[in-house]
Amino acid sequence: MTNNPDKHIKTIGIPTEEEIRQAQIDFAPRCTSAGRVNDKETQKIVQYILNFARKHSLFVLAYGTGCGAIEIPATMTSRYDAERFGIRGAATPRQADVLLITGYLSTKTLKRVIRVYEQMQDPKYVMAFGSCTINGGMYFDSYNTIKALDRYLPVDVYIAGCMPRPESVIRGFIKLQELIQNGNAGGGKCYRDNLDWYRANQQKVIKNWNFPDEYNW
């Protein structure tokens, strides 16, 4: 991908059908669940059982990256109680399965989020909250937030809304559970396969990849 800003953005006029098709091809997320055919019929019994366990035990990394994090306490506590689906918090990325991107990501956070994502162990899933992770939302002209998260991390489930209500958060989790059960949620593997593409995208935004020395344990 060359860095051509005007390729997809036209400020005047409506793009033609051809342009739209081309933009969609260019902009299709690398890691989608659509291409992976590993459904219930083709799964071996062991895989089926493991997927069942994975589905019902989702450890969510306690990282509030944006304002959607305010609905996470509500989702986890008494009225909505996500723990009945086996969803619980995990303190460190090593123990977590699900990374919630709760809203916009500033470039400074993106750098940490990528680091955190790479620290997580496979199989791992990413859920993105809110319209600002889908197309920038109300921050479409902000100089410090990224606009489309799936250029930088493989997203399994998007939850629309600003901000998503606890009900939709739980709905998103259930969607993720379906994907896991059907063997379609393989973002971590896809990320490793397409690492060059993701790295290229990430490096366009993040100028300096170095962390402080004490950070590198």
Binding site: S57, D81, E83, R84, T92, R94, Q121, P123, W217
Partner: protein, 317 residues
């Protein structure tokens, strides 16, 4: 024949300890949820968690001790388990108990934590290092009343054998909690520290140290540690029931029914005892490290000393 039963019994003990420990963990989560106005996860949730953790891939290494530490915990827990008489009657759950095993158990229970300490130290995460320091400091705190109370029992009954204690309780029908209540209280208070539930969950305090020593362990390592922890929880519960609450298997039934009745008795007693730290944990904030140590060195230790004095003046032959 006896050897075969012993070996089979050892396997059964391991499975029993693991299952009960994990199941109690699930029950704890369920009860916690109910207290907190929630539905809570199913009681078998911990098994699913374990299965998932074991199914995770691992693509990091934290050195040799990082691999050994979870094994160390499992080995330590299994070793201790083998020296604890689960039931009073029957050969099946006797395992390797011998005279003087109380001192041995005291010694071995620290072993698992030490293994974890070394493993966590190797991971290089400062949270782990601080967590380990806290854990060792805590151990210094709660071991003192615990040892004092066990010493009181040893003095009072002139034995260091769990079998003898259980035999005494079986024959007289008197639980040791009645013979030396102070020892029980001291041990109970120190057991709060052993379980590391809320007032004393300072080792892996999430808001302070991420998750402490296990910060860098995920997937299979965490799963293995979790199973080791479940077995350890079972060990602690059985130990307390054996020493203070009359042990299990005191019925006159023979054969399979005797064992089943014994197991039922064991589960009932352990569950009731387990609820004490769980419910205290539900309503308590966490102590700071030095506050926790000060707590253990104050009333529990005083109770332990009183228990020794009591034991000296009320010896039971």
């Amino acid at each position: 024949m006896i050897l075969t039963i012993k070996i089979l019994g050892a396997f059964l003990t391991a499975i029993l300890a693991f299952t009960v420990g994990m199941f109690y963990g699930g029950l704890r989560r369920k009860i916690t949820a109910r207290v907190q106005n929630r539905v809570g996860p199913p009681v078998y949730q911990n098994f699913l968690d374990l299965l998932k953790l074991q199914a995770k891939e691992t693509n990091i290494a934290h050195g040799f001790m990082g691999h050994i530490a979870p094994m160390w915990i499992i080995i330590a827990s299994m070793t201790v388990l083998m020296f604890i008489p689960i039931l009073h009657n029957g050969l099946w759950f006797d395992n390797l108990t011998f005279k003087g095993d109380l001192i041995f158990i005291l010694y071995m229970m620290v072993f698992g934590s030490l293994g974890m300490a070394i493993g966590a130290g190797q991971s290089g995460n400062p949270n782990s290092a601080i967590g380990v320091t806290r854990g060792l400091a805590m151990m210094v705190g709660y071991e003192i009343p615990f040892v004092l109370s066990l010493v009181a029992i040893m003095i009072q009954f002139h034995t260091t054998s769990l079998q003898d204690l259980m035999q005494y309780q079986h024959e007289t029908g008197r639980w040791i909690i009645m013979d030396n209540p102070f020892a029980f209280l001291a041990a109970l208070l120190s057991s709060l520290g052993m379980f590391r539930y809320s007032p004393f969950d300072i080792v892996g305090a999430p808001a302070e140290l991420a998750s402490g020593p296990v910060s860098e362990f995920g997937g299979k390592y965490l799963g293995t540690m979790m199973s080791g922890g479940a077995v350890f929880a079972f060990i602690k519960l059985v130990l307390f029931v054996d020493i203070f609450l009359g042990g299990a298997g005191n019925t006159d039934l023979q054969g399979v029914w005797g064992i089943l009745a014994g197991l039922g008795e064991l589960l009932l007693k352990t569950f009731l005892f387990y609820m004490i730290p769980v419910f205290i944990g539900l309503v308590s904030p966490r102590f700071r490290t030095e506050q926790a140590i000060r707590f253990f060195w104050k009333w529990p230790s005083i109770l332990g000393i009183v228990a020794i004095l009591w034991a000296v003046f009320h010896p039971i032959q």
